[in-house]
């Protein structure tokens, strides 16, 4: 056999999500938002902390959804961008006394640039080869962070401790008026929630815009898209950039929430976890990001409570269960329930 031919019409690596199914219905969205707004008022600080992490990883998974689900580029390297965002925030806050909120856009822009640059050589790679390249980036990142050259800023292997922000004066005084006090955790949670909602809405708009359509054209059939006049190179690198930027913001928030950055926090394990989050949530389905995020945070805890010695095995089994029952992730669950509700309404 000479050159191996791939008949692309057979089926693409990443399948398309129909546009109207891309987001939740307005009703469901509002209910979800209400839940996210009100629950922290009722629970302990620890649960609020977990919810904050839920949102943060949700943002990171969403970024991956844009990249893989949106533009069809496979990435196992998101942990690298997350790390860059985290360290940017930490270094700016601890060494340069920058206000924490300001570090987020800086982290985002920096990661966008890095992602965009990384997207260039990645242009010529696809599928397994792109996976390896991103995998390489993810494995390289902890080692780069440990490099003696940067130790003065990064703290080397010891990492950096980050100070947790308090709610701003204005908000505090407003609340004392109502005789309420807002803990640091609660403030950080609401701050993260605002950022999350903003990113979610912008991402949905991005995917519905012309650029989004370009992404999806590239995902579905790159050669056809190119033939139709889509600037494949530009949009592919743009997708990488946007995805990296959003992941960087998540990383920055993560650094603030955990109050600590270290090379060991950002290994390939994180990249794999984000990937799993995307699959479980439903590739390309943005609302699924939060389901995926919940999976990667809570299921390992669940596995551990079932069996400490075999927690990895239990996790694997649970993961298999999920992908057997719903190979298309949470999106499938949502679609099925939508259909059920529609049928019930008809009666």
């Amino acid at each position: 056999m000479s050159a191996a031919e791939e008949i692309v019409a057979e089926g693409q690596a990443v399948e398309a999500v129909p546009k109207r199914a891309m987001t939740l219905g307005t009703g469901t969205s509002l209910v979800l938002l209400a839940v996210l707004l009100l629950v922290p008022l009722l629970v302990k600080n620890f649960i609020i902390f977990q919810m904050t992490m839920l949102l943060i990883y949700g943002i990171a998974v969403l970024a991956l959804n844009i990249l893989t689900g949106g533009s069809g580029q496979f990435s196992l390297g998101q942990s690298a961008f997350y790390a860059i965002g985290a360290y940017t925030s930490a270094i700016l806050m601890e060494h340069f006394d920058v206000n924490y909120a300001l570090t987020l856009p800086i982290a985002g822009i920096l990661c966008f640039a890095v992602g965009f640059l990384f997207g260039q050589p990645a242009l010529r790679l696809s599928g397994v080869y792109l996976a390896l390249a991103t995998f390489a980036l993810a494995t390289a990142m902890p080692q780069l962070l440990k490099l003696g050259f940067f130790e003065k800023w990064t703290g080397g292997v010891q990492g950096l401790v980050v100070t947790k922000p308090e709610a701003p004066e204005a908000v505090q005084s407003m609340l004392t008026w109502f005789q309420l006090k807002m803990s640091q955790d609660m403030w950080l949670y609401y701050f993260t929630l605002v950022v999350t909602v903003a990113i979610y809405i912008s991402s949905v708009n991005l995917l519905r815009s012309r650029s989004g359509r370009a992404f999806m054209a590239i995902r579905d059939n790159e050669i056809a898209a190119s033939a139709m006049g889509v600037d494949v190179a530009l949009y592919k690198t743009l997708a990488f950039g946007v995805s990296a930027g959003i992941t960087g913001v998540a990383g920055g928030l993560g650094a603030i929430a955990v109050q600590f950055v270290a090379p060991d926090s950002y290994t390939i394990t994180l990249a794999i976890a984000l990937f799993l989050g995307m699959v479980v949530g439903g590739v390309g389905w943005l609302p699924g990001s939060i389901v995926g995020s919940a999976f990667i945070i809570f299921v390992p805890n669940l596995a551990e409570s079932i069996s400490k010695g075999l927690s990895g095995a239990v996790f694997g089994v649970l993961l298999f269960l999920v992908i057997f029952l719903v190979p298309h992730g949470a999106r499938q669950v949502a679609m099925v329930s939508q259909q059920l509700i529609a049928k019930l309404k008809q009666r």
Binding site: A3, R124, T139, A140, G148, I223, V280, A313, P327
Partner: protein, 292 residues
């Protein structure tokens, strides 16, 4: 100059480890067009099985053959039970399945055999090879076995009907089915063979790196890199890739001042990516032509 030669030789002997692993990865790629993350763990588990057999008194080569057979059957079983149901699922879901498999095997091995390192015997002995202190007889033996497997695979894919059927099933499944090839069983066969090759890799690698549940993680990364560098469609490329990665990494560590030592892996990977950008199908891979 002596350091240079020494590092090259050391690189070749480490490279033999990567080449071994890369062969298994190429095998699975030939069968299913994807890389299986759990390949390393399956190899590790097989190696533990052979170790356990030897603990129970079974002589080396008998244990070797039993493990080979066990791995082959286990590979087929895993495919039939866990991955056949996912055949219609998206590829990314399958990759999630590989990750789940990795987690399960690693955890079970840790529970059954714990995490202390175990010495693993080699049939080739550990004395210096041909008097050279840099390659031991074991490492020479490992290179030999790798080359043997390579020849075997080459012969299998080129000259046997099943080999041809397998290649057809992997790259043009529709057409393969039309000529009567049972593509589903070809995939299972591919898994079985990959598992068997992986187990040989594990049994060759363990004497050098010591047997423990996490022994394959590093090897998998490098094996992955080697396979991709050499070209995923070429077993020959995988082996060459392995040697290249091993040597190159050693040279980087030795000669690039300052950061070279701390960034061995990233630089090695960066160079592989550069090669891929120039030759997207790897050094010896066949270029893929896409028809729209």
């Amino acid at each position: 100059m002596e350091l240079f030669t020494n590092q090259i030789l050391a690189g070749i002997s480490t490279g033999a480890i990567y080449a071994c692993m890369a062969l298994a990865l190429v095998m699975i790629y030939q069968a299913i067009d994807h890389l299986n993350f759990a390949q390393g763990e399956m190899a590790m588990f097989s190696t533990f099985i052979s170790w356990q057999l030897m603990q129970w008194g079974v002589p080396y080569w008998v244990a070797f053959v039993i493990t080979l057979a066990f791995s082959f059957i286990a590979g087929i079983a895993i495919e039939r039970i866990l991955f056949k149901p996912l055949a219609k699922a998206p590829i990314l879901t399958n990759v999630a399945g590989f990750i789940a498999l990795y987690s399960i095997i690693n955890s079970c091995a840790g529970l059954i055999w714990d995490f202390t390192i175990k010495q693993y015997p080699t049939p080739f002995g550990s004395s210096p090879f041909l008097g050279s202190q840099l390659i031991s007889t074991h490492q020479a033996g490992m290179i030999g076995i790798t080359l043997l497997m390579l020849l075997g695979l080459f012969y299998f894919f080129r000259y046997t009907r099943i080999g041809l059927a397998m290649r057809a099933a992997a790259s043009v499944p529709e057409s393969a089915r039309l000529v009567g090839i049972n593509t589903s069983w070809m995939i299972a066969l591919g898994w079985g063979m990959a598992a068997a090759i992986g187990s040989v890799a594990g049994m060759m690698i363990a004497p050098v790196v010591f047997l423990e549940p996490n022994m394959m993680l590093g090897v998998l990364i490098y094996g992955f890199a080697a396979a991709v560098l050499g070209g995923l469609t070429s077993p020959f490329g995988a082996v060459i890739g392995g040697f290249l990665v091993g040597t190159f990494e050693n040279l980087v560590g030795t000669y690039i001042p300052g950061v070279g030592n701390e960034l061995k892996l990233p630089i090695a990977l960066a160079l592989i990516i550069t090669v891929l950008v120039v030759k997207p199908a790897g050094l010896f891979g066949r270029p893929i032509v896409k028809r729209v």
